[in-house]
Symmetry: C2
Subunit: 423 residues, 2 copies
């Protein structure tokens, strides 16, 4: 084999025992003849504890200092992990994001990687070391300040390093066995997916699947780095995410990859909007100016008699208050009757590249929901995804119904899903 | 005023409240028209907790990784302190040892500073910022690895930065009001010293006074940086340590600066050593090869009849086992009858440049001890210090007796010693 990048999340290195367990797994990979680069997150709840401290000293912690604070977490875990590996008789060196050559822009707390120059990592590997790298952090190109990459940043660090080092694979170790056809907590018969294309994984991530973040998959697709999502507890084969099935695996692209759901969004309906050009633009310019990302947008057919229409959109619940305030402030500029806000919604999405060439997928999807007595409130589609909004309470039943209707249920009664703590 | 370097220890920034209190004090110094550089230690017991973690994953943590781990502590405190200052409406930027230009050798866990290139600090100051610097850490000149400076390292960081930035003063904030004529926990009537010379302070530090470490004073003397040791709780004037009294202060050099004591040492006596050239050398080469630092050495007068003599020396109790083992292993090479080990000793030292020109100091010292009924076991002197070894139990009484005999007692019944927690 060749060069492998492994990433371990906070739950895998939550305490000294976890660190020692992970160290053994890393040494195994090394013994199998690989050069090994490990990206590690902060231990367990360290990051949350640091955020708490910051809020105690300042209600609005400054970006640069906040990043300096948070990066202490990975510094601790990576040093401990290197010690644990050395204690097993293998050479290891730890590197901060800056030392590893992770160069970012200057947007503190959610910096984007703009270059990776892993010269020190390459040297460490050539000298026979296992290289441990702090995830989630980098150094800004212009000011040489410490930055953090935002939520899920360690996965992105791993993929970016894998790309820069031309690794054979980027292994993302987590506390579940891989990517499933649906959330196993909702669908007992969910199956682990052996292989999934970048495109389908991107749609699943955008639709609420939490195993991999959209940004990380996007990066991997751009540089064509195969990702292997697997459990740090079980050691089983997990899910491969790549452009084509790896090696001699003959895996046919499934028509449907999986069913994702998301209950973290709310719906805003702008009622009584004049049905004329520029109205939608006025609404979404207002929302964009408030720096709110929205998801689905639906405009109902105008009632001919009144010349008024309704426009609905979904957005994270956490942004709801901000959106309503922004729209109210600009009520006269936009021109609408009233606003409705609904945070009791859920979204169910069916994802699969196969649906492009398989007529009837949409019809079967709606039939399954109808048979389950689930009412549809909004619909939105892409080439390889259909999403609907329903009542939040209906989501579990809807997901199970769709999962069964598309033949995704496993044959066994209940899949072993969690290899470890089940956290 | 000009440029001030302030150093705050772990007990001053033990929690969010402490950090906010320190931030206010720093902002005051800034408001008084100073450029302010702050060196900060890790919060409270952070460093000890990190050491615990390291010992859980590896019995012998490696130097490089151990340093990487420990430096996370200052990273947390400095970022929080910068946030707290910004929250008071002043600009602050935090810098790691590496960013601050603290260049060291490569001896992990006890690196020595070999250069300070504070370009980024200077820029931050010129832009109107308060600069916060992580104490205790640097970056190695050759390998660009993170290093730590060992015990008391943050004081040394502060003095080194003060020297490199040509600061007017290096203020060491601690949890006592300054340097006292004796340990106030032992001598209730100990007085705070307003000014003390570098030389006397070096002798006090070497003799057991714990307020400032020897290494930090040595550095300050070399670059002639005045140190002001004071409480972060009370805000009172503390003790100035410098070559000459500062400004228009007319402080005369005291004959005696103070009485120090130390009960952390043990005594080894090598019994029945042939009284011939090379014997002492053989003993102390053995000790040096075991990398043990010793303190006092005394050779008794040889008993003419036997041609044998005894050689005693003191060393830290923590090194006792190692010293005995080393001597035993080399018994035939050295040639001695037996070894005696005694860890129930204490050392009392009288320090003061004035004793050089004041005959009778030594006599008064011994008389005071004799009047208190304290038996002397070893004696060692330098130009400005006399030290004796006694029973450990006798130390408090001996210190009080000497303190009174040399007129060091304060007039008030009991000095207010601790400005704050009294930790």
């Amino acid at each position: 084999m060749g060069l492998v990048v492994q990433k371990y999340g906070g739950s895998s290195v939550a305490d000294a025992e976890g660190i020692k367990r992970v160290a053994k797994r890393i040494v195994e990979a090394k013994k199998n003849g690989n050069q090994v680069v490990v990206v590690v997150s902060a231990m367990g709840d360290t990051t949350d504890e640091l955020i708490d401290l910051a809020e105690q000293v300042s209600p609005m912690p400054a970006g640069r200092e906040f990043d300096m604070l948070l990066t202490a977490g990975e510094r601790i875990s990576m040093a401990l992990l290197a010690m644990a590996i050395k204690n097993l008789g293998h050479e290891a060196q730890s590197f901060t994001g800056s030392q590893a050559g992770v160069i970012t822009d200057s947007v503190h707390n959610k910096a984007r990687i703009i270059d990776v120059t892993p010269g020190r990592i390459r040297t460490a590997l050539d000298e026979g070391n296992i290289a441990i790298v702090a995830g989630f952090q980098g150094v800004s190109a212009d000011k040489k300040d410490i930055t953090t990459l935002g939520r899920g940043g360690s996965d992105t660090t791993a993929v970016a390093l894998a790309a820069a080092l031309d690794a054979e694979v980027c292994e993302i170790y987590t506390d579940v066995d891989g990517v499933f056809t649906a959330d196993p907590r909702v669908v007992k018969k969910a199956r682990k997916i052996d292989w999934i294309s970048f495109e389908d994984m991107l749609e699943l991530a955008a639709s609420g699947s939490k195993v991999l973040l959209h940004r990380c998959v996007e990066y991997a697709r751009r540089y064509n780095i195969p990702i292997h999502v697997r459990s740090s507890f079980s050691g089983l084969q997990g899910t491969w995410v790549s452009s084509k099935p790896i090696g001699d695996k003959k895996v046919e692209q499934a028509i449907i990859s999986g069913v994702a759901h998301d209950t973290s969004e709310a719906k805003v309906t702008v009622v009584g909007v004049p049905d004329k050009p520029g109205e939608a633009a006025a609404i979404f310019r207002t929302i964009a100016d408030a720096e709110i990302n929205i998801d689905m947008v639906v405009q109902n057919v105008s009632a001919a008699a009144t010349g008024l229409t309704d426009i609905s959109f979904t957005l994270p619940k956490t942004e709801g208050r901000k959106a309503i305030d922004a729209l109210e402030r600009n009520r006269s500029g936009i021109g609408f009757d009233s606003l409705r806000y609904d945070d009791q919604i859920g979204k169910i999405s069916l994802v699969g590249a196969g649906m492009k060439t398989n007529p009837g997928v949409t019809a079967s999807f709606f039939e399954a929901l109808s048979d389950a007595g689930v009412n549809i409130e909004l619909i939105s589609t892409s080439e390889i995804r259909i999403s609907v909004v329903t009542r939040a309470d209906d989501v579990p039943e809807a997901v199970r119904a769709v999962h069964t209707a598309f033949g995704l249920d496993s044959d066994t009664d209940e899949a072993v899903v969690y290899g470890g703590t089940g956290r």
